[in-house]
């Protein structure tokens, strides 16, 4: 075999590394968690909110609901804020200012999630406790912190989508006498919509998968929340809180929780990929 051919083969093997890692992750998570789901029954596992792993009750409904609510709450804060930043940067700010603002806002992505959680506990949780009542550690606190944490995802992908809209679209609209805002709302936003939806979907994945910050501010109580001030335990925090000491069936149940999370996130990823491909 010639040297060139050999190099190509080696590079091909290296290129399979990400795909095979993904495959390994899927296989091992399913191998560990599937037996328990089959034994308990998928229906019981998903639809019961009775989680007492040491007594053989494995129902994760309360955590699914909590995860979904926390994520939706994060979207309510993060999407308008992030989209506003993206619009300002892509459409309304002078190029010089954009050169400074864009990297600055991207710094948000570099701050570790434990730092968000820490500041959430010190500043946000007391504010909620004092002004709104409840224990402070709550669904609301987790949603607000996550809302901030997804901002970089929403901002950077939305900016890419807005920047991809051709300049002549804007010129045409302005030439017809539309104001800049009318142009943005009627021409640019619709043209960038699939990219912006991708940003929102990926942000949802981020939010639902986030663990450390949520553990620190959500309160981790095991029940279906009835108010946004109730403490909640999400799928991710349940895994992280109990993996340290779980064994046997209990550990399998945590991997089963991981399967549910993994499937949700892969579906979101798939949706995002399909959306970008269509363009």
């Amino acid at each position: 075999m010639s040297r060139e051919k050999f190099v190509e083969r080696v590079l091909f093997l290296l290129a399979l590394s990400s795909l095979s890692s993904l495959l390994l992750i899927t296989v091992f998570i399913f191998l560990e968690g599937m037996p328990l789901i089959i034994e308990t029954g998928l229906g019981n596992f998903l639809a019961s909110s009775h989680w007492a792993p040491t007594k053989g009750h494995f129902g994760i409904l309360a955590m699914i609901i909590s995860s979904v609510l926390v994520t939706l709450g994060a979207m309510v804060l993060g999407v308008p804020l992030g989209l506003a930043c993206a619009l300002v940067l892509a459409e309304f700010s002078p190029p010089r200012l954009k050169m400074v603002l864009k990297p600055t806002l991207e710094l948000l992505a570099g701050i570790p999630s434990v730092v968000y959680g820490f500041l959430g506990v010190l500043w946000l949780v007391p504010l909620i406790r004092d002004y709104l009542g409840g224990p402070g550690l709550s669904l609301l606190a987790a949603a607000l912190i996550l809302g901030i944490m997804i901002l970089p995802t929403v901002i950077s992908i939305s900016i890419d989508a807005l920047d991809a809209v051709p300049g002549p679209y804007r010129d045409g609209s302005i030439a017809l006498g539309a104001t800049q805002w009318q142009t943005v709302r009627r021409v640019v936003l619709p043209a960038a919509s699939s990219g912006i939806i991708t940003a929102v979907i990926l942000a949802m994945g981020r939010a639902i998968g986030e663990t450390m910050a949520v553990i620190m501010v959500a309160g981790n109580a095991l029940k279906i929340p009835t108010s946004i001030l109730d403490p909640v335990r999400t799928l991710t925090s349940n895994i992280a809180l109990e993996l340290g000491y779980a064994s046997g069936r209990h550990r399998e149940a945590l991997f089963a929780t991981g399967i549910v999370l993994f499937v949700i996130i892969m579906l979101l990823n798939l949706a995002a990929t399909l959306l970008t491909r269509r363009k």
Partner: protein
């Protein structure tokens, strides 16, 4: 009633700028808060002393050592894989279902949440392969986490190198691999470095993965089979158990400042590369 377009433009702009201002305020609040309370804690003793009494007293030297050890291992493992993948995707194949599949795999891997990676590293490396809670288990799992970052940035960097460079190489009689190693890779090096730096930044702040793969031992790891507590994990434990607020703030400040500095340098490098070739 229809609003005057000029008035609605003013209103919309006000709202958008207010939101942007609010976002910037949050960012500045985080950075200032951590810096003001944390930076004064950072003294030579804090950096070079071992933690005492579960981290209530003493410094954080062992956690810095563990962080450096695990991050270095992850980078050493992931860089060849990531750069190799990028070379293959850009230089050796045409766009087709194969490249799409590889890219899709890499994007999905980037979306896998760290707690899932933690579960995976725990079952495969810690339990099945018997590495235990160790630098090795942590480094291997982190390597998988940062692989997509390195692939994406290296691919961008290699694509940014103009086609003409390669054509000149072939016209001089170089083989494809020679052209890549002697011309393309050196030209793309700043971009590849960016990817590696971003990966270091990401590794420094990671907690969920390492809590379940590298463990939380406060001893300075020597062998790759020793458990090691990274700075982020140490910070999490200090904050969550309320062991020592000053030490928590100090650790957070070191973490944040180093991550922000690394990201900033990486960003400037990438901008310079883009400017040079466009």
């Amino acid at each position: 009633m229809r609003l005057d377009p000029r008035l609605s433009q003013i209103m919309a702009k006000t709202v958008l700028w207010t939101f942007t201002g609010f976002t910037l305020f949050i960012l500045i609040f985080i950075i200032v808060n951590i810096s003001v309370k944390g930076l004064p804690q950072i003294t030579p003793t804090f950096l070079f002393d071992l933690p005492h009494d579960m981290g209530r007293a003493g410094g954080i030297f062992s956690t810095i050592a563990a962080t450096a050890y695990i991050t270095l291992l992850a980078i050493l493992l992931a860089s060849p894989l990531g750069v190799g993948t990028a070379i293959y995707l850009t230089e050796y194949t045409r766009e087709g279902w194969g490249t799409r599949l590889i890219r899709f795999g890499s994007e999905c891997l980037a979306g896998v949440p760290s707690i899932i990676l933690g579960l995976f590293g725990f079952v495969l490396f810690v339990m099945k392969l018997g590495f235990g809670w160790s630098v090795l288990s942590g480094g291997l799992t982190l390597a998988i986490m940062i692989l997509p970052i390195i692939i994406r940035t290296s691919e961008e960097a290699i694509k940014a190198v103009p086609r003409e460079y390669r054509q000149v190489c072939y016209s001089l009689g170089l083989s494809q691999w020679q052209a890549i190693t002697r011309v393309v890779l050196p030209s793309a090096l700043p971009g590849i470095t960016t990817g590696i730096m971003l990966s270091v930044g990401r590794s420094l702040g990671e907690t969920a993965v390492l809590l379940f793969t590298a463990g939380a031992s406060l001893r300075t790891p020597v062998s790759v089979f020793d458990s090691g507590r990274t700075m982020a994990v140490h910070f999490y434990i200090l904050a969550r158990e309320g062991l020592s607020m000053p030490n928590a703030y100090g650790t957070a400040a070191i973490l944040m400042v180093s991550i922000l500095a690394i990201n900033l340098v990486a960003y400037t490098l990438m901008q310079r590369l883009i400017k040079r070739y466009s």
